[in-house]
């Protein structure tokens, strides 16, 4: 009896020692976009095993991430919507893309399987503007001469919460449709002309899966996990492409990062025969003169580690790692993150 108590006591002491040990290690904090949350969480877990240092990431949305890093309440912020160079300058932040993903239109149409249907940007814009209201519209028929399209009303499903996914989707529609640009525009949330709003990627995925005749847009991973019917798209070069790692990578490769100030580059409607038109990067924001130099240095170490070791984990979760030359550019830009005496934090 006494020995059990002793053993328990020893166990508790051991647990306490382990917890103290963990508390002594540096825990960096980040907040922002929900889209990269799964991969950041996975990286953080592997990083803790490697180095003993942890990462506490709150997926509160891109807008929240921008606000918190501007207020310096977190070590870094994360956003799917990059900040413009002026805004970075004003807030004293550096910015770089961390990982890339794809946004795909998903549909629920009887007799139409994944990849059977092809759409182009202008048609998608017209559907989301409420100008095309039936699936057997001439514009859709023209793109799909072989498909059997029912005379069914189209139910548009969009995000109801503010979202980086919405920003990239509406940015793409604004690029391909002047009508969309003037009537609706691009933002993390917009005044949708038609349709029902659903919360989160999973909300859109579920509403499309439940509603006959529905069309929505989700991150590729959600379409895959929920086995939703995705469409092919006509890209900027006029080629029909399916959503896949290969076509997302082609879009990422086509982007000219070297001339983008503050890495302000949106990957929608990129040129290239194989480029998927609605590809999106997600960004990290870090103060140039951090409040805690130790935390900021640790954050840079973490992202450097993620660039070096995290590629395979990203691919497992259907994200695309940044191309090598871009990583080199990003690492050079980190020289702007300086300590109080003006020296770069990470050499």
């Amino acid at each position: 009896m006494i020995s059990t108590i002793f053993r328990r006591g020893a166990g508790a002491a051991l647990a306490l020692a382990v917890m103290c040990g963990a508390a002594a290690a540096i825990d960096i904090s980040g907040a922002g976009a929900t889209f990269p949350y799964p991969i950041y969480a996975k990286w953080a877990e592997a990083y803790r095993k490697d180095t003993g240092n942890g990462l506490n990431y709150q997926s509160i949305g891109s807008g929240g991430g921008i606000k918190q890093v501007k207020a310096r309440t977190v070590t870094f912020g994360a956003s799917d919507q990059p900040l413009k160079a002026e805004e970075l300058q004003a807030a004293g932040l550096v910015q770089w893309p961390q990982v890339i993903g794809g946004i795909v239109p998903v549909i629920n149409l009887e007799g139409v399987a994944g990849g059977d249907l092809t759409l182009d940007g202008l048609t998608v814009a017209k559907i989301f503007l409420g100008e095309i209201v039936k699936w057997d519209d001439a514009a859709i028929k023209k793109l799909n001469p072989k498909a059997k399209l029912p005379s069914q009303p189209i139910v548009v499903v969009h995000r109801s919460d503010g979202s980086g996914t919405t920003f990239n989707f509406t940015n793409y529609l604004s690029k391909v449709s002047p009508d969309w640009k003037s009537k609706v525009g691009e933002n993390t949330s917009v005044e949708w002309p038609v349709g029902i709003g659903a919360k989160g990627n999973e909300g859109v995925a579920n509403n499309v899966a439940n509603t006959k005749g529905a069309i929505g847009y989700v991150e590729y991973a959600y379409a895959k996990q929920n086995k939703l019917t995705y469409t092919k798209m006509v890209n900027k070069d006029g080629k029909v492409v399916p959503p896949s790692m290969e076509t997302f990578q082609a879009a990422a490769a086509g982007a000219d990062w070297s001339h983008a100030e503050g890495f302000y580059e949106i990957l929608t409607n990129e040129p290239g025969a194989k480029a998927w038109p609605i590809t999106a990067a997600t960004f990290i924001l870090l103060p140039k003169e951090p409040k805690s130099e130790a935390d900021a240095a640790e954050a840079l170490k973490f992202f450097s580690w993620a660039f070096a070791n995290g590629g395979k984990m990203a691919e497992e979760l259907d994200y695309i790692p940044m191309p090598k030359p871009v990583v080199e550019l990003i690492k050079k830009s980190w020289a702007n993150v300086k300590s109080a005496d003006g020296k770069p934090l990470l050499h």
Binding site: K67, S160, V184, T188, G197, A198, N206, T211
Partner: protein, 295 residues
């Protein structure tokens, strides 16, 4: 001590009002009174109006009360007058458990179970049944999305039911047996005993329960967000997607970049506060009128 505690409540309330008003000043200055009547909700051009959210809040709450009040009173009547004694406790506990389920669970259940069911079975029936009757044909105009104002009202009804049912049951049990026995004695039916003895005796408590329920229905956020469709539009049809004040705030606050956008959301919060205040004031006034009449 006790006075200090009471004063603290007033201070907190004043603090909430002041911070809400302060936070919504930019939006009040930009849109003025038009905020209440405008249906616009455009984050790109920063043009906001609260009409659609106010409309949705009131309509879903009304739908919820129309369903929950008769059912709740029925449940309370059954439990106090008709139910076999062995069943009273299990049913009573089950009703109270309904109040303990977190609202996010109602939301998920509504989205995955109730909405598909309404979409495939109930809504088409409603559309065809009321299609030829004026007024009702606009109220139940299709297409059946599954989610929408009616579904949100239905979820809210389930959520406020335990408030109404268990408070009504508790106050029904306070009726002195001698009053009821007197009524039975002169040959009254159960219905007449309820209608002329129990309900008049307990009306203050019953109305209190209803107001608690209404308060919850007006402010409920998560469950509604899942099933209402979140469209900033006023539509005559109950089947159409809409939005409520609290759903709008919950959906958009985290990503509201820009001061005017944030401020417009805070002003929505202020409006909800005022609506709730007026509803409670109205309830007090009704109670006063009833008490004066009976005195």
């Amino acid at each position: 001590m006790t006075r200090a505690a009471a004063v603290i409540v007033l201070v907190i309330l004043a603090g909430v009002i002041v911070s809400l008003v302060y936070g919504s000043m930019p939006a009040i200055q930009a849109f003025g009174f038009g905020f209440l009547t405008s249906q616009a909700w455009n984050p790109v051009t920063e043009n906001f109006g609260a009409a659609a959210a106010i409309y949705g809040t009131l309509v879903t709450s009304i739908v919820a009360m129309v369903i929950a009040v008769p059912v709740g009173l029925g449940v309370a009547t059954f439990l106090t007058e008709l139910c076999p004694h062995a069943l009273r406790r299990p049913i009573g506990v089950a009703i109270e458990l309904l109040a303990g389920i977190p609202s996010i669970i109602y939301g998920i259940w509504g989205l995955f179970v109730l909405a598909p069911f309404l979409q495939s079975h109930v809504q088409p029936a409603l559309i065809s049944a009321f299609g030829d009757i004026p007024f009702f044909s606009t109220l139940f105009a299709g297409p059946p999305y599954g989610i929408g104002m009616l579904t949100a009202g239905f979820i809210l009804a389930i959520m406020v039911l335990p408030f109404i049912a268990s408070i009504s049951r508790d106050v029904f049990e306070t009726v002195p047996p001698v009053l009821k026995e007197a009524a039975w004695g002169i040959g009254a039916t159960t219905w007449e005993v309820m209608r002329y003895v129990v309900v008049p005796y307990t009306r203050v408590g019953v109305i209190g329960g209803m107001m608690l329920g209404l308060g919850r229905a007006l402010g409920e956020t998560m469950a509604v967000t899942f099933v209402i469709g979140n469209a900033h539009k006023i539509s005559g049809s109950l089947l159409a997607p809409g939005t409520t004040i609290s759903a709008t705030i919950a959906n958009e606050f985290t990503e509201a970049v820009g001061d005017l956008y944030t401020s417009a959301l805070i002003e929505l919060g202020l409006i909800l506060f005022v609506i709730t205040f007026f509803v409670l004031a109205l309830a007090r006034y009704m109670l006063m009128r009833i008490e004066q009449k009976s005195a």
